[in-house]
Amino acid sequence: MPNPLKPEKSVVTTCAYCGVGCGFKAETRGGKIVRMTPWKEGKANHGHSCIKGRFAYDYYNAPDRVRTPLIRASIDDPWKPVSWQEAFDYAASEFKRIQAKYGVKSVGAVSSSRCTNEEIFLTQKFARAVLGNNNIDNCARICHSPTQFGLTNTIGAGAASQHFDSILQADVIMVVGANPTEGHPVFGSLMKRRIRQGAKLIVIDPRKTETVESAHCKADVHLAIRPGTNVAILDSIAHVVVREKLYNEAFVHARCEVNEFENWKALVGSDKYAPEVIGPLAGVDPDDIRKAARMYAGGPNSAIYYGLGVTEHSQGSTGVMCLGNLGLSCGMLGREGVGVNPLRGQGNVQGGSCLGSWPHVFSGYRFVTDDETRSSFEAEWGVPLDPEPGLRLPNMLDAAVAGSFKGMYIMGEDPVQSDPNQHHVIAAMKNMECVVLHDLFLNETSKYAHIFFPGSSSLEKDGTFTNAERRVSRVRKVIEPLAGLQDWEITVQLMNAMGYKVSYDNPGQVLDEIARLSPNYRGISFALIDRIGSAQWPCNENAPEGTEVLHIGKFPRANGLGAFMLTEYVPTAERTNDKYPLLLTTGRILSQYNVGTQTRRTPNSLWHPEDVLEINEQDAMARGVNNGDWVKMTSRFGQIELRVKISERVNPGVVYTTFHHAKSKANAVTSDLSDWATNCPEYKVTAVDVVRTNGPAADGWHEADRPRIEELEPAECA
């Protein structure tokens, strides 16, 4: 067969991997997906793609994909395949039993940023209207919750101020704690295009990432800070802006609360944030701090893009506020080419944030304690709703360990692998009487689950995703769901089994309900998206086709003014000492995606078969470690074994790894510290030490994972 076989059908849909949300044409032949090609009219990607979206789609058909519902009475029992109805009835009876015995608030739900907007909305409806409490959280808790908090408090909206294309008008691009060319590759390519056209680049990142230097793209300033010093360095940049009067006085007076500006000036302008003080603390040259500040303030158009390197800290929310303050002070908001923009990790983190999968707010970030908002939901849903905020995911786990929280519906999440302090999560899971896991595959968490709902991949369902630029795009069903039901149907049927009757003909009707109840989504519908391709919220009567740039003229706060928050630097409690002299930080690689559930089931693993530990040559030599050696990495919280890669990407004193493979258990060593405001875990700073070892040890931290003797290779027994 000399020529390729021509696909027969093509369906335009949205990639389910990262927050870029590329438009793709899913092409099929004989009912099988044979190719994904980037959609030229996709407004987030303009016909471009990356290795994940373009090629790594075959996980949907992996042999270990679960295709029937499973239940079991105890986690020590084997799984028993059952019918859908049996699974729904069992889950409903368990939740009811637990609530009768332990109280209404003893159960909760968690949704995922891999779910569609409609599924996320239904899951919170399940918690609030069916379980009757506000114990609902989502995985943005562990990545971008500080974004919502930090940006809402400064510029008024917890979302990207710009659309992606805006970067093509930026003169200075400041990337903080993000690595777009690996984590958000298609946006990374757009950024590089702009840099090749002459835009300047500032990178603040402990690691010399691919974004710092690649072909025809080199950062003008790279502040390779010591992990955990974000707030110090950003305050120091602000210090230079204040002391050298680089701020935009006209903008501040016209658009911001001036008293707060003065307070902020007094704080960051104080001597303790001088580059000469902060430079040595953060491990960077003070002159580079000054250079970065002058470059950013000089613009004329400067845009900030940031990632989890800002948020996943004990001062994550403060870090986000620093960026908001900086944008406000220099007048870099409210037009094309500027802005403060979070790069969202998963396809629908923004949707997860917007649609009320939070214990304290409904969709549109309106508080459950607010009577007016609550009554609008009560009217639509026909039940009284709990006015008291519910538990956050980490608090649900704490309560489970304490014994008061007994049941959980987990949609598309693997907390055992992805949440910090793994042994604590496992203890929580083991303490619950009913864990319902809704996913494509059995995973680390399923070891502790009682009911498994086999979900549908994004190729098997209808709905919408909201990407990192607030763009709502359609997810369209390309093939029939392998387990028979689309994810939204599963949640709906669970609600019905619980005795709360709902019926939707299609997820478009769920989106209509979202639109009725959420001001920013008021104008969004399947019909609109089908007509114009996609729409960025806010989309309403004032902006019938959506809004590309936020904050033009005023900020979405009560008085319309931007607010400066005080951002005192408070070092994390996680410190190095003689026993743990190195700082571990974590990140991603291009070919793998998050905990790897999808990409590890594709040939993408050929590029990244295992997580490795990057270590500077100096630290490696001091420990007698060579490239490829196994090392044991120990923190105050646990230990893991990894292979070493000696690399100039990290400075002495810093080590780095990825968390894509379950077997490397990177989160067994991360701390249980978290952001002061939102509980977002501090994944990015852990004090560790590294010693050479002979290979993965049999006596790992996790008793449950200790291999039995007969499973060990002879060499390992020796």
Binding site: M1, P2, N3, P4, L5, K6, P7, K25, V34, R35, T37, P38, W39, K40, E41, K43, H46, G47, H48, S49, C50, I51, R54, F55, D165, L168, Q169, P185, G188, S189, K192, R193, R196, S214, A215, H216, C217, L590, S591, P603, L606, W607
Partner: protein
């Protein structure tokens, strides 16, 4: 500003990136139309519904002018300029379909065909195949057994796509896609003249090169020399020549 990206259409390839200059009016095959300054004749022709055949041009990449298939005639100018690299000028009168042009294009396409595996012409659906069909070129007068690239080894190192140099027409679309769209600069053309060939990094297999497997080159390739493995059933190999 953004017209290069935002005005792209899924079903229509303008041939060169859309522009947003001030309006320029011209005639293409007696169709009068107005396009932004900076647009190519090729783009104007596509907008006029008189699409010009092309191989090395596509609207996601800057024009390159290497394939010599898109030649046109311009009133008052000598020669046969490539429409992809010739910008529109106010009042310009362009002919895209004269007998002379058809003869020239046929000659160019026959040369491409003379170094394309004959067995792979059957049932092909790449842009090259479609262009040959549209221009009525099914054979060439150069005989068999001349110098060719039929036996160049296939690079199947990447798990997702393969590169078959036998089908490569060295139009540089992959090279430019890697540079302009992806920004990785992993692909280049090595050698000169008949020896020129597409190579990844330092003439390495794709998998071992700097290639990040974004697929931009595969998307750009007009001849299925770079093509997704998922479109084949079984192992990839050339069909046996008919007479063998």
């Amino acid at each position: 500003m953004w017209s290069e990206l935002r005005e792209l259409k899924d079903e229509l390839d303008f041939g060169t990136p859309p522009r947003d200059g001030s309006p320029v009016t011209l005639d293409v095959d007696d169709v009068t139309l107005t396009v932004p300054a900076g647009s190519s004749i090729m783009l104007a022709a596509a907008k006029a519904g008189r699409a010009i055949p092309k191989l090395c041009a596509t609207d996601m990449l800057e024009p390159f002018g290497s394939c010599r298939v898109c030649l046109v005639e311009i009133e008052g100018r000598s020669g046969f300029p490539a429409s992809c690299t010739t910008p529109v000028v106010e009042g310009m009168k362009v002919k895209t379909q004269t007998e002379k042009l058809q003869r020239l294009r046929k000659g160019v396409l026959e040369l491409y065909l003379s170094d394309f595996p004959e067995s792979e012409m059957v049932e092909g659906w790449s842009e090259l195949h479609e262009t040959l069909k549209a221009e009525g070129v099914a054979s060439h007068p150069y005989g068999k057994g001349g110098a060719n690239h039929f036996d160049a080894p296939v690079d199947a190192s990447n798990p997702y796509f393969l590169f078959d140099p036998a089908k490569c027409i060295v139009c540089s679309r992959c090279v430019r896609a890697c540079a302009e769209v992806q920004g990785t600069f992993a692909i280049t053309i090595a050698g000169r003249s008949f020896e020129s060939k597409v190579v990844a990094s330092q003439d390495q297999p794709f998998f071992e090169s700097e290639c990040v497997s974004c697929g931009a080159c595969v998307q750009a390739c007009p001849s299925h020399a770079l093509v997704e493995k998922s479109l084949f059933e079984g192992e990839y190999k050339h069909a046996e020549p008919a007479e063998a």
